[in-house]
């Protein structure tokens, strides 16, 4: 099977869907001839030209509102924000309008729109270019929130997103963009709401998000030497969230750890913990544990950021601590 980078796989998915649906266009800063800050659209401008690969001025509310309006009359915009941090400038438009046009129109209008941005702490990007923020979108009814972690999933999920008539927040961790993985030939669609069990195990369930999946797998390998068998789950989509797979795993293991680079309060870990306590109380042998990034804006220097983000060692220790509970 061929190996591709995460970015190339996502772009292949976008290209395939653009070829099928003339209503798909990409709007954002630098998506035209430049090919996107993160190479999200390399080569597509030459195929489709400026109307479908549209460079914008720096006006996030403006082009988000524009894309919302376009989606209301039959186009399928891809709003390429580069960084999720910039999406925050359009939050009013996204929450008040984009998320609820379908609801307000009682389903007579749909909202086929893909909102795309990179997330995560990486490369000393500093306080304005390191955010995750996905709980904000998970919290508001109307959004789908998608966080692929492998190249195959990046392709499969972006294609599903581009066939969805819901607004999709599509988030790509900067640390994963150059990671390589197998991507099958042919049609590849990954459904929303289906987690992936990336490693089977019996002693503890670990749910990890975005880049933390890789780190957790490293920790699991280490722990195998110590006789610990970890089951690692990658949710792939945070809304809808596949709680069934997590619950079945906890039924087997009795212990649950959620590893998330994002801040703890009201995060994905809090949501999963509440759901599992509600739905699998009698399966829990220990309190549910969360390992999050440090609760502070992300600074610049690596000597600071290194200790602020979970790594394989801290994840392994968190698992050991949980087993001792």
């Amino acid at each position: 099977m061929r190996e591709m980078t995460f970015t190339d796989a996502a772009r292949e998915g976008l290209a395939e869907e653009m070829a099928q649906n003339p209503g798909i266009f990409v709007m954002g800063e630098g998506v035209g001839t430049r090919g996107g800050n993160f190479n999200t659209t390399v080569g597509l401008y030459d195929l489709y030209g400026p109307k479908r690969l549209r460079d914008t001025p720096i006006c996030e509310r403006g082009f988000t509102g524009l894309c919302t309006g376009a989606a209301m009359v039959g186009a399928h915009p891809v709003v390429d924000f580069m960084f999720i941090d910039f999406e925050l400038d359009a939050i009013g438009e996204l929450f008040n309008q984009t998320s609820r046009i379908q609801y307000m129109s009682s389903g007579r209008l749909q909202m086929p729109i893909l909102v795309r941005g990179s997330i995560g702490i990486f490369g000393s990007a500093g306080p304005h270019h390191s955010g995750n923020y996905y709980p904000l979108f998970m919290h508001v009814p109307g959004f789908r929130v998608v966080v692929p972690t492998t190249p195959a999933d990046a392709k499969g999920l972006i294609k599903t997103a581009l066939r969805s008539t819901d607004p999709v927040i599509f988030l790509e961790h900067k640390g994963l963009l150059f990671s390589k993985g197998p991507v099958p030939e042919g049609e590849l669609l990954v459904p929303f709401g289906k987690a992936s069990i990336t490693r089977e195990g019996t002693d503890v369930t670990v749910v990890a998000v975005a880049l933390m999946v890789q780190k957790t797998l490293e920790a699991a390998k280490q722990l195998e030497q110590e006789g610990v068998s970890c089951e690692v789950i990658d949710p792939r989509t945070l809304a809808p969230l596949d709680v069934d797979t997590i619950r079945d795993s906890v039924h087997k293991t009795g212990r649950l750890l959620i590893v998330d680079e994002d801040w703890g309060p009201c995060g994905i870990g809090a949501e999963i913990a509440a759901r599992i306590v509600d739905e699998a109380f009698d399966d829990l042998d220990a309190p549910i544990s969360r390992l999050n990034g440090a609760f502070a804006p992300t600074p610049y220097s690596p000597s600071l950021t290194a200790g602020m983000v979970p790594n394989a060692q801290t994840i392994a220790q968190a698992i050991r601590d949980l087993l001792a509970e």
Partner: protein
């Protein structure tokens, strides 16, 4: 005026009267409690909606404001669907989910009124973008007020339409006040139309209480858009003679003299006099039209009053396209 047929002129008149009579009913219904939430009436501004929407087909789309009853009716929403919506009933154009500020009727091209100021400006720009992309010769219209012209999205969206020659018409209804804040206090420049020059597009200011003037300038703007020549900023200077929202005070920020002066410039009364003077219609004819509309509005009100409430079990339907 000479270029318009009698039918066309009477159509304009009819539209304005439908708006006026429906709004008058809603004022009473608001006071009596049949209208549940906010009610921002369009009384005094009817010429703008009527003059602009006369040039639009059903496939053209309109994005409106919190003061959108006039746009809705002018675009083709029936009075009964509007009244039922404000009554919160299942037969309202938004199935009871929107109320006054969230009217949706995509079947006739009404793509939403908005509780967020300036929401219409970027969305209308986007619809225009999609028409351009998909090769449709439809036009998109954004209605907004003087208050919205202060918001960043006014600048962002109009600039985008300008640089990409989008088929959109921006209609600013400058009624001199954003709630209670006079426009003169938020802008050193008394005109909004002149801002168009910053984006390189035409900007036209017009008497918003003169339906024929509005009709003419809007016609040109729509023609430009439809032919691919790009957007136009149309500033209609007008006035609302009711409070910002029914039940709110009307004194304190403007004088009764001012209100009375503008009432004397009522667009409907002015047009009536003109039609009669130019012999396009008699007083009786116009009165008959008025009576028919009164009956229609009364019937619509009765329909709304007797309509069922939305089923509570549907409260979370349509959050997503697919469950």
């Amino acid at each position: 005026m000479k270029s318009l047929s009698k039918e066309a002129l009477l159509a304009l008149y009819r539209t304005m009267q439908i708006i006026r009579r429906t709004e008058e009913h809603l004022i009473r219904a608001s006071a009596s409690g049949d209208v549940l939430g906010a009610c921002h009436t369009y009384i005094g501004e009817e010429a703008v909606a009527a003059g602009v929407c006369a040039h639009l087909t059903q496939d053209d789309v309109v994005f409106s404001t919190h003061r959108g009853h006039g746009h809705a009716l002018a675009k083709g929403v029936e009075p009964k669907a509007l009244i039922a919506e404000l009554y919160g009933r299942d037969t309202g154009c938004s199935r009871g989910r929107g109320g006054s500020m969230h009217l949706f009727a995509p079947e006739v091209g009404l793509m939403g009124t908005s509780g967020i100021v300036a929401g219409s400006i970027a969305q209308a720009t986007g619809a225009a973008y999609a028409f351009s992309l998909l090769g449709a010769d439809h036009v998109s219209v954004a209605f907004f007020g003087d208050g919205a012209s202060s918001n960043g999205v006014f600048h962002e969206a109009i600039n985008l339409a300008a640089i990409w020659d989008l088929p959109v018409v921006y209609v600013c209804e400058n009624n001199l006040y954003a709630t209670e804040v006079p426009f003169s206090s938020v802008s050193r420049v008394p005109d909004i139309a002149s801002r168009a020059g910053s984006y390189g597009i035409p900007g036209v200011a017009v008497d918003g209480n003169d339906v024929l003037a509005v009709h003419e300038t809007a016609g040109e703007a729509v023609r430009r858009a439809r032919s691919g020549e790009g957007p136009t900023l149309l500033e209609c200077k007008t006035y609302r003679t009711r409070p910002h929202s029914e039940g709110m005070r009307d004194g304190g920020y403007r004088t009764t003299e001012e209100i009375e002066a503008w009432k004397a410039r009522c667009p409907i009364a002015t047009f009536e006099r003109l039609l009669i003077a130019q012999r396009y219609a008699t007083e009786q004819e116009l009165a008959a039209i008025g009576d028919l509309i009164n009956d229609a509005v009364a019937e619509a009100a009765a329909f709304a009053k007797n309509s069922p409430w939305p089923d509570p079990s549907t409260a979370t339907d349509h959050v997503y396209s697919r469950a």
